[in-house]
């Protein structure tokens, strides 16, 4: 087992944990935590697989750097929403039911 694949599998597992976090909770902040975990998992897979050459392929690194920034933006927006939701409804829950 090369470290590249080792970390790739680790990333897949991390993604699974994050997915569980999103599925299992309704609290928006918890879901954001889950999304961050899942995101890190995906990034880990991508960067780990770039390690299969020496020196590592810089393109995936660039992609992940972009991905990290995007992730930060999404997290910031989600947390702002959570704060506002909490102020309006007293709980930062993500509603389940359909319809306006």
């Amino acid at each position: 087992m090369t470290s590249a694949h080792l970390f790739a599998f680790s990333g897949v597992a991390l993604l699974g944990a994050g997915l569980l976090g999103v599925l299992a909770h309704r609290h928006l902040v918890r879901r954001v935590v889950g999304l961050n975990l899942a995101g890190s998992g995906v990034f880990l897979v991508i960067v780990a697989l770039a390690r299969r050459s020496d020196p590592p392929d810089p393109v995936p690194h660039a992609l992940v750097l972009t991905g990290l920034v995007v992730g930060l933006s999404a997290t910031a927006l989600a947390l702002a929403l959570a704060v506002r939701l909490h102020r309006e409804t007293g709980a930062a829950r993500v509603p389940e039911e359909d319809g306006p």
């Binding site: 995101g39 991508i46 991905g67 999404a74 989600a78 929403l81 309006e88 993500v94 306006p100």
Partner: protein
């Protein structure tokens, strides 16, 4: 100007507009928005004529070219989508200028005036960039641009329903793009390229194609509000400010659908996911029925229109099973026309509800009695747009539905015709529930009411455009066919 120049303009102009609107602030926003809308639409038009004249337009960003660099590509399908964005975009901009316009309204209104324009123009740019992207990672970035700007716009409404919807939308959108990103990552790890054409050339059927394909299609289906992943859409579209709803319902959902078309028809090898097309079609059919039934139960105009979007998207998803082998060309023409007509009609309906909300206390259906004589222009817009949503001839909706139907019969897959026909009847149910309010006699005397003329006219213009598409369907079809709408598919 060359086709490539128009394409670049279609992305850079709205980006510049958004920046200007951000710096200029609330006071300048409206004018920046109107100017930008005009310029961006001109770019889309220029690009369309270039594609009509010379076929597919390509541009190597940075001059590197794939696989090292990013490429932009505009074929018939992309051009049609850009024209769609431009047509809806102009109307939304004009309507929004009146909707968010006017001074006062306190801090909340000031915030909306300040934030709407940069958010909306970023969304416009993001859509243009998405329809032009030929690089699957670049697509990821544009998807996130679309998603975040859409969430921001929904949140502008500021009430509980809208905020909850925005939160839901954001979580699902992020989940979707993570799945997509992982799929792209796997594709790169296996093929060493991110260029759509490169992947198409290098990717054979196999575990990689299947896994990556499933991730990409799943993520996109989530964003396209495919039944049963549609839950986030109705509250978001019904809760957002009316011009925003118009943009979301008409354009944003089409973006994910467009990418699904690209991936299933162009990028992924046919054998990668044998049953995927049928699954997508079946879920689409379910969406038609479910969305229509829910629309029948709504008591607010915007609720009806939002659920109607779930149903109408279902028609689009019938493209996938119909487009296999022989049906590809006609099915694509049908889906293209249907998407265009739906965008115009749906935006018209939401802009009309915006006008109604300006003039009347609410958009509750039972409050709309006598709308025909109280707001004739708006009522006309609703009526004409509904004809296209109903897909009755000779509207744009009919042209699209006809092509999809005849594909179904021509390829012997007539089973897919059933949901289409049933959907038509159900659509009549919820549309005429609204229209009969317009004719219904009012209890007391209900005087005519005024909404900003710009809002009423922009809605009516879109509705007439949706209808006109059905009178000259060959015009958009010529654009769609220019330079081979899809690799290997020429309508």
């Amino acid at each position: 100007m060359s086709g490539a120049a128009w394409a670049i303009g279609a992305v850079l102009v709205p980006l510049a507009g958004a920046t200007a609107a951000l710096v200029g602030g609330a006071r300048a926003g409206r004018w920046v928005g109107l100017a930008t809308a005009g310029a961006s639409a001109a770019c889309a038009g220029g690009l369309a004529s270039a594609v009509l004249a010379g076929g597919t337009v390509r541009h190597r960003v940075g001059g590197w070219g794939a696989p090292l660099g990013i490429e932009l590509r505009a074929d018939g399908l992309s051009a049609l989508m850009l024209v769609m964005v431009a047509a809806v975009g102009i109307a939304v901009t004009v309507s929004a200028a009146a909707y968010f316009g006017g001074a006062g309204g306190g801090e909340e209104q000031g915030r909306r005036r300040l934030l709407f324009w940069p958010l909306w123009l970023f969304l416009w740019a993001a859509l243009d960039a998405l329809f032009l992207a030929a690089d699957v990672f670049n697509v990821y970035v544009t998807l996130e641009l679309v998603g975040l700007s859409a969430v921001g716009l929904v949140a502008l409404a500021g009430d509980r329903a809208a905020l909850g919807a925005a939160a839901r939308y954001l979580v699902l959108a992020l989940l979707g793009s993570l799945a997509y990103l992982l799929g792209v990552g796997l594709l790169y790890a296996g093929l060493g390229t991110l260029d759509a054409g490169g992947i198409r050339a290098a990717l054979g059927p196999g575990l990689l194609a299947t896994a990556a394909g499933a991730l990409v299609l799943g993520g996109l289906a989530l964003k396209a509000a495919l039944f049963p992943l549609h839950g986030w859409l109705p509250p978001a579209h019904a809760g957002a400010p009316a011009p925003v709803s118009a943009a979301l319902s008409a354009l944003v959902v089409k973006a994910a659908f467009y990418l699904l078309v690209r991936f299933t028809r162009e990028i992924l090898p046919g054998a990668a996911l044998p049953r995927a097309e049928v699954l997508l079609g079946a879920l689409g059919a379910a969406g038609i029925v479910w969305g229509s039934l829910q629309a029948l139960r709504q008591d607010r105009l915007k609720g009806v229109v939002a659920y109607s979007t779930v149903a109408q998207l279902g028609y689009l998803f019938l493209f996938f099973p119909l487009a296999r082998d022989a049906g590809a060309a006609t099915a694509l023409s049908g889906a293209g026309l249907f998407a265009l007509a739906h965008a115009l009609a749906k935006a018209a309906l939401f802009l009309a509800s915006g006008a109604i909300l300006k003039a009347l206390p609410s958009d509750r259906l039972d409050g709309l009695a006598g709308l025909g004589s109280r707001m004739p222009l708006t009522a006309a817009a609703v009526a004409v747009a509904s004809v296209s949503i109903l897909a009755l001839p000779p509207s744009g909706g009919f042209a699209g539905k006809w092509l999809l139907l005849s594909t179904a019969f021509a390829t012997g897959r007539w089973g897919w015709a059933v949901p289409m026909l049933l959907g038509g009847v159900l659509a009549a149910g919820y549309s005429f529930r609204v229209l009969e309010r317009a004719i219904a006699s009012t209890p007391g005397d209900a005087p005519p009411v005024r909404a900003p003329l710009a809002m009423e006219l922009s809605a009516l213009a879109l509705a007439l455009a949706a209808f006109a598409v059905g009178l000259v369907p060959w015009a958009p079809l010529r654009l769609l066919g220019a330079g081979g709408a899809l690799a290997g598919v020429a309508p």
